[in-house]
């Protein structure tokens, strides 16, 4: 075997690795999509392009074996694209294995790599033999150049073009079109002409194509010539060479747009190290803090210095302008940190496919809402919980085909991973149509493991029983298997998500399926909070959890059992006294007031009234970790430095409610 030399710096190699592994992941997702959805020329063109880039990068870095194998794969993609090969399962399996090999090959470039080097020969041979099997019966289908003219009084030509595209999709594959399919769907069509390069299905004739298009209303004329001249239409394959040190990611420069991962190539985007981004966020955030201090100083100055009125007013203007700019900066940086979940989700089709084939289950995997954007830092944090839930769904949720048929269900199970927004949160759902969770079994298992007694089990509602699943160390699956993984349980899923200020809920219906719903905030670093005081200290309450602020007569406080509750508009709320929390001052009445100031907060379905001394107002705050302190201080998410340099502790609403509600229940 040739010994490889990579004449590049460690940093170059790191970039090469990052980029290549990402591209291989995209390819993996796309090949599975291709297998599921059949031929798709746009997808294949993209796959071809990515394989081409992988080959180029490997070549540039001097990794000959890798570039050779990538070359063979590129070849397969180009033949798939040109309709010479069909994406049948055998071929897809070989391609997936080749992708794994390419991944291993890429990892060989890691400085100090000691492992076994990949022999590419068997992969080349397997690709070769799989392609000869997947070759289409008929030789290369001819390409047609199709030109369609609509009547000039057509009210919505884009709609007609879409219908033409639908006709063509039924008859074969549209390799490219002008306007493109995307533009047509967006309604972007100028004029009344439509062109397409078209690769018809084997039995489709020119007459079929013309007849099909003529059937669309408002078509004036159709011209269909063999050998579509792609170059003339400006649609020739992109022959740009790609450098391995820069990743072109996006052709839209506005960060709000939903972006296509590794989509069209352009030079408007560059890759930035996440750590650099974190620094940017921190700096932008701290600017807003300094800014608030400046406002404070200006206010004090205007009160004490009456002689320099002009100067003070000038300062006021500058501050206003700076405040606008720093807010804008902060917003832009936060926006740029938002990453579509597609980055994460594209790993999963392969995972689900592997697990289900290992278990011999038939599973249809549906991914929705991958355009949903989430703070980059959060994406990494939700990955493990989602993986765990998906494994659970495929491993435990979905029954074997046989059991499903017996239960009058389709043999193929469905697992759905969906994401979307709900106000300022992102909701991620992992749902299956499997056997559901049996609360009875959960109760039994909990008793057997000594989590609860028989009596307790009997008194639990179904929901409470299901909630036992989230107890540390709990699992109803008796036998170990390497799919569901025993290391991480649902308890870790929940605690990981709760750490992010999120929630996990489960809904299950015996025999019909289970849905886990994760809800997390869009971002971690900055949020709006209500500032309050208690015992002379300042506290911040995340606004997302605040329901209302109320003044309540002290007389409305009632003692029940171990705690105090208050009656607010007919609703009984447990009370959490922030003074008590801050200083151990437990007696509410002793505060010598007629009315209590109370902030009502909620978490999941529980509400608690937090009694405070006074309200200071709403503010955007930047969260800072409590570091070592967090070991001694519970009930806080962190701290924030306020405009005057003072510190406010940020209340962890979930914890506060847990403490309070738990106390009043027990």
């Amino acid at each position: 075997m040739v010994s490889d030399k990579y004449s590049f710096s460690e940093e170059d190699i790191k970039l090469f690795l990052d980029e290549t592994l990402e591209m291989l992941e995209v390819l993996e997702e796309e090949i599975i999509k291709l297998e599921e959805e059949g031929e798709d020329s746009e997808l294949l063109q993209d796959m071809f392009r990515i394989a081409h880039t992988v080959k180029g990068s490997a070549g540039t870095i001097g990794h000959i074996r890798m570039s050779d194998l990538a070359h063979s794969m590129e070849d397969v993609f180009s033949r798939l694209r040109d309709g010479e090969l069909l994406p049948e399962q055998g071929l897809v399996n070989v391609i997936l294995d080749t992708l794994d090999a390419l991944r291993d090959l890429a990892i060989e470039t890691t400085p100090g790599f000691q492992g076994e080097k990949v022999d590419i020969k068997p992969y080349l041979e397997r690709l070769e033999s799989a392609t000869s099997k997947a070759a289409k019966a008929s030789p290369t289908s001819p390409f047609y150049g199709i030109s369609v003219k609509f009547y000039e009084d057509t009210a919505m030509p884009a709609v007609r073009a879409l219908q033409v595209l639908q006709v063509l999709d039924e008859l074969g594959t549209v390799v490219a079109s002008q306007p493109s399919a995307d533009q047509v769907t967006q309604g972007e069509m100028r004029g009344f002409d439509f062109f397409a390069t078209f690769n018809p299905a084997p039995t489709v004739t020119k007459e079929d194509i013309v007849r099909g298009i003529n059937d669309v209303p408002d078509v004036d004329s159709v011209d269909c010539r063999p050998d579509g001249d792609m170059e003339k239409l400006g649609l020739k394959e992109d022959s740009t060479t790609y450098l391995p040190d820069v990743e072109y990611e996006d052709d839209s420069s506005s960060p709000g747009d939903s972006r296509k991962i590794l989509g069209k190539v352009s030079d408007h985007a560059i890759r930035v190290d996440i750590a650099a981004f974190d620094r940017l966020v921190r700096i932008a955030s701290e600017m807003t803090i300094e800014q608030a201090r400046l406002v404070e100083m200006q206010r004090r100055l205007s009160q004490t210095n009456m002689f320099e009125l002009e100067l003070v007013q000038g300062l006021e203007q500058v501050i206003a302008q700076m405040s606008r700019l720093s807010t804008e900066l902060q917003e832009e940086v936060m926006k740029a940190r938002m990453t579509p979940l597609a980055h994460l989700f594209r790993r999963f089709p392969r995972m689900v496919r592997d697990i289900s084939s290992k278990l011999g289950k038939q599973v249809e995997f549906i991914v929705e809402g991958e355009d949903t954007e989430l703070d980059r830092a959060l994406i990494d944090e939700v990955a493990d919980p989602i993986i765990h839930l998906l494994r659970n769904s495929v491993g435990h949720g979905i029954e074997s085909a046989e059991d499903r048929l017996k239960a009058d269900k389709p043999a193929t199970g469905r697992v759905r991973l969906a994401a979307g927004y709900a106000e300022d949160r992102v909701i991620i759902t992992v749902e299956d149509d499997g056997r559901g969770i049996d609360p009875k079994r959960v109760r039994e298992s909990a008793v057997r493991r000594g989590f609860i007694t028989d009596d307790m089990a009997a008194s639990l509602s179904e929901e409470e029983a299901i909630d036992l699943l989230f107890q540390p160390g709990f699992s109803t699956e008796i036998e170990a298997d390497d799919v569901s993984g025993r290391g991480v349980g649902l308890d870790i899923v929940r605690s990981n998500i709760v750490k992010l200020g999120g929630t996990v809920r489960v809904k299950t219906s015996l025999g019909e399926g289970t849905a886990f719903t994760i809800s997390v905030p869009l971002t971690l670093a900055v949020f709006r909070a209500l500032l309050v005081t208690a015992s002379g200290q300042r506290f911040a309450i995340p606004l997302s959890g605040v329901v209302e602020v109320a003044q309540v007569p002290v007389a409305n406080v009632k003692s029940v059992g171990t705690g105090e509750v208050i009656v607010l508009r007919g609703r009984v709320l447990p009370i959490f006294n922030l003074n008590e929390f801050a200083q151990g001052n437990t007696d509410i009445e002793r505060n010598n007031k007629d009315d209590l100031v109370m902030v009502v907060v909620k978490y999941e379905d529980s509400r608690v009234g937090i009694v405070v001394d006074s309200l200071l107002g709403e503010q955007e705050i930047v969260i800072k970790s409590l570091g070592v302190l967090s070991r001694w201080v519970t009930g806080f998410l962190g701290a924030s430095v306020l405009g005057d340099g003072r510190i406010a502790l940020i209340l962890d609403i979930a914890r506060v409610i847990e403490k309070t509600a738990g106390r009043s229940r027990s």
């Binding site: 009210a155 919505m156 884009a158 709609v159 879409l162 769907t185 309604g187 059937d215 209303p217």
Partner: protein, 119 residues
Amino acid sequence: MPLALVVDDAAFIRLRTRKLLEENGYEVEEAQDGKEAVLKFCEISPDIVLLDITMPVMDGIAALKEIKRIDPKAKVVMCTAVGQQSLVLEAIKAGANDYLLKPLDPEKVLASVKRLVEK
């Protein structure tokens, strides 16, 4: 005689379309919102549906999706106003077979309906 279901929240549009179609050899049933359209569709299995987009209770797009779910081969023509192109595109993607622009041109209505019914 082919059976057409005319869906529109405006009674006079339903009336005019009904007259036009009846004069040209169609039997006509009416519905005045998307929900009623879906129910009627299940009840009478029409050969063609003329479906307004902007309607109360359930709009035309939702009704279209529901109808296509019930019968993927259902033939549906969306009736729309200028400026609703994006909705029409959405409808075509969801399986609508054609669109007609309001105010409805009798010739175009007949051509579209005829084309789809005979298909």
